[in-house]
């Protein structure tokens, strides 16, 4: 349902304004549209462009140690991690270890509903996801490790299957495309997947050029002649393998068609492997979702929000720009999904971590010297990672006394305290699940 149109004073009234264009912001806008809530979504850039394209739920528990929150002066104790094949079973352990974790406020059904609705939306946007039934599927990373995730996009699906079925996989890299090494992947995987081999090929027309980028190669492959030459280059190497894994070079938009066509020509199944930034797989998610949202009736602004005010009706008011025009959004409900430091949802002033937009209290280590472990890879995860905004059970931020900050203010995603998505492999899950809980609450409140 589309919000009312802008009136003469350039005021755009809506029921819900979502600030943020990352996974949580997009999910919140989708869930609101599904519930016929007139919604404005605002956000300029987000880290979703760095995403692997998979949707994580939960895979790894960083053990919290015997600890009093942040009180240890020296973070030298060694921690341990525990991997879980069954994410929902793992979440039970997680919330026992971290009772304030956002997942502790959610039922399995709520989380599953969120994923269902989000996958349905992504399918409508052109990206089909395959969800684990009970166990986490795994994908091959460009490092040559296996990553456990929850929903695998179509373009990685065959890789996941090949891992489980221990098929003969050929990983192909391209001369001049740095940061993606077929031999690196094969060497690292050979102990657990002996059927993996690596091969370097040259890209037609770019045999001698220095720096290649996945995005450019994707555009090259839209040229049927180059596509054919590329397929022919692959042909001699695929004879004795079952599946072929490529870096994500099949374009930002028509990747499914390109893959199917390639599979036909070479006669083998093909999958893609996410690459480091800039990540084509992340751009696919971003492009697909942001172009789909307006079709559901969500009004989007690619704009930066600097300040939120309240008007005399008690509604949230803020300015956004569209071209040269400034529009004032007037929203009954506000959901902030501004992310952490990369999204500037969290900033530091005078050594104190602050929430940028509303000045919400931020749960955090006592001082800067306790933000990090000396070991970057310390299994416990850095204390700063669990800093964030504390909320009530339906993800309304709390004020300094622990009371709801404002009855119509919600949050979702990585801004929330007590989660460590990078270590838990819970990024998409925390975003999607907190968003659906918040939006469902808004829908109920009317």
């Amino acid at each position: 349902m589309t919000p009312e149109t802008v009136d003469s004073k350039n005021i755009l009234p809506c029921k819900l304004a979502v600030i943020g264009a990352g996974m949580a912001g997009i999910a919140a806008a989708v869930f609101a549209a599904n519930r016929n809530i007139p919604t404005v979504q605002v956000g300029r850039v987000s880290e979703i462009g760095f995403s692997s394209g998979c949707l994580d739920l939960f895979a790894t528990l960083p053990h919290p140690e015997v600890r009093s929150e942040y009180s240890q002066g020296e973070h030298t104790c060694s921690g341990s991690t525990q991997a879980f094949d069954h994410p929902f079973e793992g979440i039970e352990h997680l919330v026992k270890a971290y009772p304030s974790h956002p997942y502790a406020r959610l039922t399995r059904q709520e989380i599953e509903t969120g994923f269902d609705e989000f996958m349905q939306f992504m399918a409508g946007a052109g990206i089909e996801y395959h969800c684990g039934t009970d166990t986490n599927p795994r994908i091959i990373t460009p490092a040559g490790t296996l990553k456990s995730t929850w929903c695998v996009p179509s373009f990685m699906q065959e890789g996941s299957r090949a891992i489980e079925e221990k098929k003969r996989i050929l990983i192909v890299d391209i001369k001049g495309l740095k940061g993606f090494g077929a031999l690196q992947i094969a060497q690292n995987l050979k102990k657990i997947l002996p059927g993996v081999q690596g091969k370097t090929i040259t890209f037609p027309g770019r045999e001698t050029s220095g720096d290649l980028h996945c995005e450019h190669l994707g555009r090259d492959l839209e040229n049927p002649g180059l596509f054919d030459r590329f397929a022919q280059t692959l042909m001699p190497h695929v004879k004795d393998v079952d599946v072929v894994g490529l870096p994500a070079i099949l374009g930002i938009y028509r990747f499914d068609a390109a893959r199917h066509k390639l599979e036909q020509v070479i006669g083998k199944k093909v999958f893609e492997i996410p690459t480091l930034a800039p990540s084509v797989t992340g751009m696919r998610i971003k492009e697909a979702s942001l172009s789909r949202l307006p079709q559901l009736g969500v009004t989007g602004f690619s704009s930066l929000v600097k300040q939120i005010d309240m008007d005399s009706d008690g509604d949230f008011m803020f300015n956004v720009t569209r071209g040269l025009e400034t529009v004032t959004v007037k929203a009954k409900y506000l959901l902030i999904a501004t992310g952490r430091f990369m999204g500037r949802g969290l900033v530091v002033e005078d050594g104190i971590i602050r929430e940028q937009l509303m000045g919400l209290p931020v749960y955090q280590p006592r001082n800067r010297s306790q933000w990090f472990h000396r070991d970057f890879f310390h299994a416990q995860g850095h204390p700063i990672n669990r800093a964030g905004v504390e909320t009530d059970a339906c993800f309304r931020p709390l004020d300094i006394r622990g009371k709801v900050f404002h009855p119509r203010l919600f949050t979702a995603g990585s801004l929330i305290a007590h989660q460590d998505w990078k270590r838990e492999k819970s990024g998409a899950g925390v975003s999607i699940a907190s968003a659906i809980k918040a939006v469902a609450t808004i829908a109920e409140q009317g």
């Binding site: 490092a143 690292n188 480091l276 430091f341 070991d375 270590r423």
Partner: protein, 517 residues
């Protein structure tokens, strides 16, 4: 293995002694448990003192600095950027101290010229607006790596054998003599005996650790000093705060960066020498009084070294003399063992000369010391470093042609190939750490997030790496960068750390056992 002299410790003093003795025709073996300048010689300001800094506290040291800095400017110009220096005082600084300063310099014949504060700010626009006094002195900047590498190379040319990654683990003694030293190759685990006529302990902060193996105690105080490297060069000359020596009162330019420091923190153990976030905050706060933009500027690395101070009386930290300690150990009942520690980078040559004089005399060699007359030849090895830039050997060359492994610092595949070849010719394996030590990979703004991984991919591609060792090396590489970056993470740096962790942990899962999926 047999030699005339075994020198332990390949810092500026140890390499200086090796050159000095070998120029007198004495055969030496120089060992270090790590690499050249791995200790305080590689973790300092890179400041060549005119002597002005010491006129109040230690006249003797001031005079030594005056003479030695002049000599080095003349004999080793390739290692020195003759920037000149300023001493400046701000509003809050002690007027009596300022008033006495030119007279004290004069007393020791150290050139010092009062200049107007306006002139000082014209020379160095970064200086604080509330300047109340300024003096020009003859300070300069020295690259300690190039200095030690050049000394080492010239020593090698004159017959010295240099063994890196070679730790002394014990001494054999007989009748008041050391008969041999047991050394361990820390890479291969092999041990061997080195028999020498004389043994020199030039291990800096580790002087007591080594002498203790020979049954001799040297009472040491370990004073850790931390320094910060800025992303851009802020000043042209060395800038000293004109006050009693305190934290963060020297800003030294070098190459494309500036270095602000130091602190003075007494530590009990040499196991973990790293800067802390508290030190970083205090350096920035103090430094900004003199140069305000230190508050806002970007920093690329923090590092720390330990001043090897020998406790003579009851002094602590900065009040202990910065002059060197040379012990002949005769009183300790050892006839062929000396220890030399403490001192300053600026006076390294003099220290080496004094130590070498004792050793030469004991060996009945009466050749004169040549290092005060003969130029220090510029070796090819020194080309890998950049003036006073940081605690590693950096290849300064940028080569934007070809596929770039490191985009921040423009290090190409070709350059990596060159380094890999040179490592292999030295018999070393081209690991990420070794390639990193010989190039600028990982030293730019991404701090190894992308380039360490790209380098690993590339080395797997050329079959230099196998199994999971490349990922182990990425972890090690990232942690080495983290050591110098973590204390600097204050605000915007958090974005970079978040991005780095989302790749290395979120996507790759490198915090886990590599195949624990």
């Amino acid at each position: 293995m047999n030699t005339h002299v075994l020198i332990i410790g390949a810092g500026t003093t140890g390499t200086g002694i090796a050159r000095d003795l070998s120029l007198r025709g004495i055969q030496c073996v120089l060992v270090d448990k790590g690499d050249i300048n791995a200790g305080a010689s590689g973790a300092n300001h890179g400041l060549l003192h005119s002597g002005a800094r010491y006129v109040f506290k230690d006249g003797e040291a001031a005079v030594e600095c005056r003479d030695e800095s002049r000599l080095l400017k003349h004999l080793a110009p390739q290692c020195i950027e003759d920037t000149g220096g300023l001493f400046v005082a701000v509003e809050m600084d002690d007027d009596n101290y300022i008033a006495d300063f030119p007279g004290m310099c004069d007393k020791y014949h150290i050139p010092c010229k009062m200049i107007s504060t306006r002139e000082a700010r014209e020379l160095e626009p970064c200086l604080a607006p509330d300047l109340k006094a300024a003096f020009a002195v003859e300070d300069a900047v020295v690259d300690p790596f190039m200095l030690s590498l050049d000394n080492a190379a010239d020593a090698q040319l004159h017959g010295t054998t240099i063994m890196r990654n070679t730790a002394v683990t014990g001494f054999r003694k007989e009748n008041g003599q050391i008969t041999s030293a047991t050394v361990l190759n820390t890479r291969t685990g092999e041990t061997q005996e080195i028999e020498a006529l004389q043994y020199v302990n030039a291990t800096g902060a580790w002087a007591d650790t080594v002498s203790a193996m020979a049954g001799v105690n040297i009472p040491m105080i370990y004073s850790k000093g931390s320094l910060l490297v800025t992303q851009d060069r802020i000043n042209q000359q060395v800038i000293n705060r004109l006050r009693r020596a305190s934290d963060a009162d020297i800003l030294v330019p070098g190459g494309t960066v500036s270095i602000i420091g130091t602190t003075s923190v007494e530590i009990d153990s040499l196991d973990e020498i790293r800067p802390t976030p508290e030190e970083v905050d205090s350096i920035i706060k103090e430094g900004a009084v003199m140069v305000p933009e230190l508050e806002k500027t970007r920093y690329i690395r923090a590092y720390a070294g330990v001043r090897p101070l020998v406790s003579t009386q009851n002094g602590q930290g900065r009040s202990i003399t910065r002059n060197y300690t040379l012990k002949d150990h005769l009183k300790d009942g050892l006839e062929n063992f000396i220890s030399i520690t403490g001192g300053k980078l600026t006076t390294y040559r003099l220290m080496a000369e004094k130590a070498s004089d004792i050793i030469a005399r004991r060996l009945k060699n009466y050749e004169p010391c040549l290092t005060a007359e003969r130029e220090l030849p510029a070796s090819k090895k020194g080309e890998w470093t950049e003036p006073a830039k940081s605690a590693r050997l950096w290849m300064n060359k940028k080569d934007p042609k070809g596929t770039l492994i490191c985009e921040c610092e423009m290090v190409s595949e070709q350059m990596v190939n060159h380094i890999v070849d040179s490592l292999k010719s030295e018999g070393a394996r081209p690991t990420l750490r070794e390639v990193g030590n010989r190039s600028r990979i990982g030293k730019g703004p991404c701090q190894g997030t992308f380039c360490s991984f790209r380098l690993a991919s590339y080395l797997y591609g050329t079959e230099e790496l196998v199994d999971t060792e490349g990922l182990e090396q990425v972890r090690e590489f990232v942690n080495e960068r983290w050591k110098g970056f973590m204390p600097l993470v204050r605000d915007k740096e958090l974005m970079r750390v978040e991005l780095q962790e989302s790749f290395l942990c979120g996507l790759f899962g490198l915090e886990k056992e590599i195949h624990d999926t």
